[in-house]
Amino acid sequence: MNVPLSITKTIHEWLFSAMNPSVASGVEMVLIALVYLTIFAVLGLFLVLLERRVAAWFQLRVGPNRVGYQGLLQTMADALKLVSKELTGTDRADKFLYNLAPYFVIISALMALAVIPFSREFQAFDINIGIFFLIAVSSIGVIGILLGGWSSNNKFALIGAMRSGVQTISYELSVGLSLLTMILLTGSLQLSEIIEVQKEGWLIAQGHIPAIIAFMIYMIAGTAETNRAPFDMVEAESELGAGFHTEYSGMKFAYFFLAEFINMFLIAAIATTVFFGGWLSPFGITESLPWLGVFWFLMKTFVLVFLMMWFRWTFPRLRVDQLLTLEWKYLLPINLVNIVLMALLVWGNLTLKF
């Protein structure tokens, strides 16, 4: 059985036959953007549900199970409630920046999704600097958090924003360097080429020891980048109210919330692409069925997402100084040594290929 996934191709050809090329390409871009927005808004909602169910499971509770089958519609209902809520703000806040801040966070999260290859065909933007583009775009998100915290005119929000800035700037280094370690193996920044390289074995197997070290560093730093527990001092509920989004309500709060979950998915998706072969099946068992790529990609990603949720409900929160010590005194030196190790490995041709 060979089902070709050619819906996109059919639509593409139909568009270009119906209109002149420049209009058609514009319409196509808008369509792709709408599809991505819809898919990832819904995906974000279901990630929230998944998080709540996993949390309940870890704490021996049941979790949301009333709205829809096994609570499947719970977060949809929550989203509707958030849309209908009043948008409040503080007195003497900087209204312009206050309203602008959520868009920074959500736009940078959604822009990064464009380059993720979900399968061989399903990739919106196969840019030749793939990974670097991801790092560049995700570095903008922190501006939204800093702005939101400052312009709310609230001391808890401000402290939360400052902590977030410190944390994101520090851990961005580790994310970048651990991905760079893997770039040494692939020799290309383009995501589709990175996956092509992995047809001879996933990179985590090809690079064995340094690759595993890089993966561990990446997961730690990635969890910190998304401001999730155990690195959630940004919104430490017991100390800061809700951190930088204390003063946000309704849909603007929902943007921050959604962006956090999309970022979590993004970190897991990058890890899947770079370490675990993206949409390639394990040992090529379904190589004759290329349409299963999306399934494999999502499966690997959700395993990693589950890992991050596992972190959240297992480890206690770190202090600020512990967090900075972990990054600057442990992760960064290990990372630098690891890059040299990987370079020696590639130089001496010691990689494992199947």
């Binding site: 600097i129 903008i140 312009s151």
Partner: protein, 174 residues
Amino acid sequence: MERILFYVIAIIAIVFALASVISRKMLRSVIYLLFVLCSIAGVYFMMDYNFLAAIQLTVYAGGIVVLIIFSVLLVHHIELELEIAKFPKQLATGLLCLAGLGVFLYTIYMHDFQVIGNQTTTSTHDIGSKLLSYEEGGFILPFEVISILLLAVMVGAIILAKGTLTSNSETKQP
């Protein structure tokens, strides 16, 4: 299509550049500056020079603007507004800016730009090998000079941050 897009990006850049100078709230001007930098990155993307665009985003938008925001957050209160300068100062600044603009426009219109048809994307591979080559047209010397400069800056920052602790290093560290 490309032409329209270019004009849109250029107008955004100019409007926000003006707004960033005129605005009396410090953090707002920083954000306008961020928009200017992002639209310049957009121009690079239009030229298919993805690498430089990503550098623009990481270094300027993600790095420098975040640092500026940080320092503004530390020193600036939300209700403060920047004061308006006195008239002689305004006049002097205006004249200086006009002179600068004049020199700039003169150079642009006098220089004979060559149109490169059929441009190809510069790959990171080319940039990397050019940066480390010591042959004709290589950039190894500036690269090394910059790395020494950065090392000196880093050492300086550590010395400054340590402060008095260097003299009596026996004091308890947190």
